[in-house]
């Protein structure tokens, strides 16, 4: 009993500490990346290469004055950032960072919430993500906030549909909803060099999912919720100091969690990167460590992709955005699903 409790606590702490610890780094990468793409210097004063800048920012957030406007609805105003952060963290519980391994005389599943429906729960938790935003917009009692929240919410739900169709297609293709089985199906190589990743089987589904992640986490080119030229800052307009920081953290953690799901379905999750098998052959004991490293490298690439897109593409217009979601991506997702099913059916004949 005690052992089990310790195991749960350890897992929880590790799974929470990894993304939260990486957050300052990601923010720094984002700012330096922006500077790199715009040919300017970016933050480079605090520490070597400005690496301590995010920590300084955190300290600043903590010592900032808490502006608590008079016209807000106090309870929900305080609760909204907390709900946003907690809901963003929840999907992380279902994501395994390595294959189950033997240690201390027992099998350890390296995920907090072990269930064969894990992937459903992860999506369900990320579907709750709009509550924090909607609540913030309503509690702020401000027209800009309200409009931003409504926009964000409508956009998130619209793109969730096409995202779900791509998930259905992948689950149909793998014939399982167990994340470990899904990843096991993606280990190995075709023709000796091409990794058996889902993205090569289902490029359309991968594209839909990728667009869905951008829309769900409100990142450019889909950050209509905080389009500063139209509605100033959207749903977090009335927020300051740590409350604002919590929204910021929630956005990044949501991004990390959705990227991890994307990688699980399309890039082999924690399966080893090409070339790492050589190391494992020499030292099998390193398997779990290398798996975690592969996952982190893959997520890092995704994050860099997010930054890259953010500073490359301009923002959409709102009607174009909704048209894209409902009139392009959703039929594309449905067509992709039908074609997949027909191909699988006729191949089995």
């Amino acid at each position: 009993m005690l052992e089990a409790m310790i195991e749960i606590l350890l897992k929880t702490v590790v799974i929470l500490a990894l993304p939260l610890g990486a957050l300052p780094l990601i923010i720094h990468v984002e700012r330096r990346g922006a500077a790199f793409m715009q040919r300017r210097l970016g933050p480079n004063r605090v520490g070597p290469f400005g690496i301590l800048q995010p920590l300084a920012d955190v300290a600043k957030f903590m010592f900032k004055e808490e502006v608590h406007p008079t016209h807000v609805r106090p309870f929900f105003y305080t609760a909204a950032p907390m709900i946003a952060l907690v809901v963003a963290i929840l999907p992380l519980a279902c994501i395994p960072v390595a294959a189950p391994f033997e240690a201390f005389g027992r099998t350890i599943f390296p995920e907090v919430f072990r269930s064969d429906m894990g992937i459903f729960f992860a999506f369900a938790a990320s579907a709750l993500g709009s509550y924090g935003i909607l609540l913030a917009g309503w509690a702020s009692n401000n027209k800009y906030s309200m409009l931003g929240a409504l926009r964000a919410c409508a956009q998130m739900v619209s793109y969730e549909l096409s995202l779900s169709t791509s998930v259905v297609a992948m689950i149909f293709l793998y014939g399982t909803n167990d994340i470990h089985v899904m990843i096991a199906a993606q280990t190995g190589y075709w023709f000796g060099f091409l990794p058996k990743w889902g993205v090569f089987l289902q490029p359309v589904a991968a594209m839909l999912f990728l667009v869905g992640i951008f829309a769900e986490s409100n990142r450019l080119p889909f950050d209509l919720a905080e389009g500063e030229s139209e509605i100033v800052a959207g749903y977090h307009l009335e927020y300051s100091s740590m409350k604002f920081a919590l929204f910021f953290m929630a956005e990044y953690i949501h991004m990390i969690a959705l990227s991890a799901l994307f990688i699980i379905m399309f890039f082999g999750g924690y399966s080893l990167l090409p070339g790492m098998e050589l190391i494992v052959e020499r030292a099998p004991i390193l398997l779990a460590v290398l798996q975690v490293t592969s996952l982190i490298i893959k997520i890092g690439c995704m994050i860099w992709f997010f930054v890259w897109v953010r500073w490359t593409l301009p923002r959409f217009r709102y009607d174009k955005l909704m048209d894209l979601g409902w009139e392009r991506l959703l039929p594309l997702g449905i067509a992709n699903l039908i074609v997949t099913v027909l191909i699988v059916y006729f191949r089995n004949q």
Binding site: I8, V67, A93, M146, M242, I334, L337
Partner: protein, 119 residues
């Protein structure tokens, strides 16, 4: 067991966000300036209340999302059952019927221009 781990995770996540908020309200500077507490409306005096009626399109989007989401979520058991089913033809026929009905609904939605934002 899994239930307990989920609860522990949830509680730790809640505590984390509460602690972060608590730290800031403890350490933060405290001033009381009335202008600062006012509603933000680009520096001009606020006009009307924020809880006015917004566009019906937002609402229609949500309602159509609900109905399509139900359909897509119930495709998931189908996708999982297909591989284990003995009668693939039957399953495929069911899927085609399902999809045809869904597409009829979808075409109705697009045709009615209920989700067209520009007038």
């Amino acid at each position: 067991m899994e239930f307990a781990s989920f609860i522990v995770f949830f509680i730790i996540a809640c505590t984390l966000s509460a602690v972060l908020l608590g730290i800031s309200s403890l350490l933060g500077q405290k001033r009381k300036i009335v202008r600062e507490m006012d509603i933000y409306e680009s520096g001009v005096n606020p006009v009307g209340s924020a809880t006015r009626q917004y566009d019906i399109k937002f609402y229609l989007t949500a309602i159509l999302f609900l109905l399509f989401d139900v359909e897509i979520v119930f495709l998931l058991p189908w996708a999982l059952a297909y591989k284990e089913s003995s009668n693939h033809d039957f399953m495929l026929a069911g899927f085609i019927f399902f999809m045809v009905i869904m597409l009829v609904g979808y075409i109705f939605v697009i045709n009615s221009k209920a989700l067209k934002w520009e007038k």
